[in-house]
Amino acid sequence: MARTTLFLGLTLSSLTCWAQSPLDELMMPKNDICILFNYEYGQFDQYWEGDFLRENQTIATVQRRTAMLMAAYGINDRLDVYLGLPYVSTNSTIPNGGKFAGASGLQDISIGLKYKALEKSLGAGKLSAFGSLLFSTPASNYLSDYQPYSLGLGTPQLAWRGIGHFETEKGLYSRLALAYTWRGYTEAEREYYYNEGSYFTPWMDVPSSWNMDFTLGKWWMEKSLRVEVSISSQVSTSGDDIRAYNAPQPTNQVNFSRLGGFAHYYFQKVKGLGVLGYYQQVISGKNAPKMGAFGLGVTYQFGL
């Protein structure tokens, strides 16, 4: 029986992209549904202002909690569709110098497709290739121009992703996912902002980016458990720097590299039930928070 994971790779605060992506190699059998409920907690007390890593007692430690419901469905054995909706809440720890209220609410609703383009034996293993599309757009009227507490970037996003996956017969695998994430415009609630010059409009151009994830993993316990380590990075194709001791804004060029560890366990005794956990730490960046985050989730898969 094929197994499915849903893993939302990039819940890295509003300062970076929000790109929940079906970025793994697992496909749903036709007419199967998988539901994920995931909780993530992330925090940072340092961020890169341009290339300069700094602290800021105005915001102290920023905390971010995300509860996410996601569903996947196998349209056929080569094509999956995904739907996701996260609820996010943010705040600073007390004491802090800014006394800003945090924010909470529904973030972006996403819909995705993953298509299996290729599968063939190669030496002692199996090579597969996938293409996926993930579109997301704000599901509430949250304000993207309220950083670092904004729930998200407040703009439609579309990630075009190619995935290559090689897995040995012993269950050792590596995977590379490359994506171009297009981002549109976000509407602020002011009619003037500075982005290396004056802009007399509430609309801000949110930079698009290249996103890369490289994963090494292994199946254990007769394919009941998979464990992965990964490195991810984002390079924005445009954008300005956070200005000195100033708040970030959605026009910023956000780049980062991040290490992650991930495990997903499928219960043998309860058919379709799984639990997952992960930890991620940003290790370098530009106009990005040095966010560390862990997540815990429950998956349940069943046929229609």
Binding site: G97, F135, G184, Y185, Y193, Y194, G197, S198, N246
Partner: protein
């Protein structure tokens, strides 16, 4: 691929095509227009920094039949015929009302420099220093009082310079090159205003000089802007080099008058030492039993410009005459009612209140509240097709009134030294940034009410709109959680009072 996939892909592609090409305006889009009036007697207007427009001497130009002038006309004709596409675009960019463009340059620099210095690693703060502008931190910190003052000197210099220019234009009546030679194309709308001295050159030089003094690190940028503007004057067909030279002379002289006043208006003493700042706070504590304190971390030792209230005003004889009454004493029913209102707003951030708080925030990194009212003003100037002299007049009275408003507001702020909501309400959180100065009265309220009153005077058909905006700007600070309601309401009254002095002066300057 099946049908569903295809449909989704189509939707996505359509969205991409539609969403990719948004045009984000970086300036007010308008083209050269026919002025609503020519103001042939504009040279008789009462200037601000001198007694008459003719106080600046401009010699009589060479006549239209003189070989010198005809050679100049030939010269610009050659230049125009060989102008590049970039140069032609530059001519259209400046339009026939460069008061607007130079105001936009000022707003851009304000936003660029409106960054509060952060703490040093040891927790101390270093303030920008005009003697070493490179910093760190760079000079200036273009906060609202600084912005109001920069805009006031800019607009007053433009206005006075244009009064002189208008005087000599209709004194000497020398036509523009496009009027002399039919083969010279005119880039702008044709109207019978003499070309000597060039009003564009007056605006370019006066603006460049004032802004260079206010933003010394931008000297090269401003010189480049001036160069582009002067080139546009020649390539537009409106000016020959001697028109420009005479305009530059006026620009230089009026800028030095403006900067002479600026150098002795008291601004250099506005940011005080900690000792002086503490004594001001303690005086308020002795008087009223309260004092504002900065709650940032690390704590800023001195509030923003404690002595801005002592800066020389433009049109108000004494700042004390506009000082508002004592605010509600903490603990009294009037005060407790305000606490209740603020807690209610904080607990119920409606979409409308949030929108208002953000629309008017004009905080760090932006063009500030005075900048916002300049932004409004230039839109109505263009909409009403004011000529540059009339435009500069509106901006001069607007910005004088708003600087006076800032001075009056800062006098109240540091006289009363009233605490912010986060200081008095335990655990209170805000959706706007709490500034580094006392609460009473709200700067946004005073700036906005004064700006609205001046604009209501010049554009009476829109008076109720301006006043409604000013009230919204005032209450926005309460929605943001950083002001008491009485900061806003009393501040609005204060702004209206302060503006009246500038409006009274505008009524008697000889044009309406």
């Amino acid at each position: 691929m099946n049908k569903i996939t295809y449909t989704i892909l189509m939707i996505v592609s359509l969205f991409l095509v539609a969403g990719c090409s948004m045009d984000l305006p970086t300036q007010l889009e308008f083209e050269s227009y026919e002025y609503a009036s020519l103001d042939e007697n504009g040279g008789d207007l009462q200037p601000i920094l001198m007694s008459k427009g003719l106080d600046i001497f401009v010699e009589e130009p060479n006549g239209v039949n003189s070989p010198e002038f005809l050679e100049e006309v030939e010269q610009v004709k050659r230049q125009i015929s060989s102008a590049s596409e970039d140069q032609k675009r530059n001519v259209l960019q400046w339009t026939n009302n460069p008061v607007v463009r130079w105001n936009e340059i000022a707003l851009e620099l304000i936003a660029k420099y409106n960054l509060i210095p952060g703490p040093n690693p040891d927790g101390s703060y270093t303030l920008p220093n005009p003697a070493s502008p490179d910093g760190p931190p760079p000079f200036p910190f273009a906060h609202p009082p600084y912005a109001s003052r920069a805009l006031a000197y800019l607009s007053v210099a433009q206005y006075d310079g244009l009064i002189s220019a208008w005087y000599y234009k209709f004194q000497y009546n020398r036509p523009a090159p496009y009027q002399i030679d039919e083969e010279i194309p005119h880039a702008y709308v044709e109207q019978p205003i003499p070309a000597y001295p060039s009003s564009g050159a007056v605006v370019a030089r006066a603006s460049r000089e004032v802004l260079t003094a206010m933003f010394p690190l931008e000297a090269a940028y401003l010189a480049a802007q001036e160069e582009k503007h002067l080139e546009a004057l020649l390539l537009s067909g409106e000016n020959v080099p001697s028109d420009v030279e005479a305009g530059l002379k006026i620009g230089n002289e009026i800028a030095s008058k403006a900067l002479e006043r600026a150098s002795s208006d008291g601004m250099k003493y506005a940011q005080t030492s900690k000792a002086v700042s503490d004594s001001i706070a303690n005086a308020a504590f002795e008087r009223f039993g309260w004092k504002w304190v900065n709650l940032e971390s690390p704590q800023r030792p001195v509030g923003l410009t404690p002595l801005f209230g002592k800066v020389k005003m433009w049109n108000v004889p004494s700042v004390e005459s506009t000082r508002p009454p004592v605010p509600p004493v903490p603990g009294t029913p009037a005060y407790e009612e305000d606490v209740r209102i603020l807690l209610d707003y904080a607990a119920n951030v409606t979409p409308e209140r949030r929108r208002i708080a953000n629309f008017w925030q004009d905080g760090l990194g932006t063009y500030t509240p005075p900048g916002h009212w300049n932004d409004f003003a230039i839109r109505d100037i263009v909409k009403n097709k004011l000529n540059p002299l009339r435009a500069a007049r509106v901006m001069a009275f607007l910005n004088m009134a708003m600087m006076d408003a800032g001075i009056s507001c800062w006098d109240a702020k540091y006289y009363y030294h009233y605490p912010r909501p986060i200081q008095l309400i335990e655990g209170f959180e805000t959706i706007a940034g709490t500034p580094n100065f006392p609460a009473y009265t709200s700067g946004h309220s005073v700036f906005s009410a004064s700006g609205a009153e001046v604009l209501a005077h010049f554009f009476p058909e829109k008076a109720s709109q301006f006043r409604a905006w000013a009230e919204e700007a005032a209450i926005s600070r309460v929605y943001g959680g950083i002001h008491w309601t009485f900061d806003a309401t009393v501040g609005t009254t204060q702004g209206i009072n302060v503006a009246q002095y500038s409006i009274d002066r505008a009524k008697t300057d000889g044009i309406d």
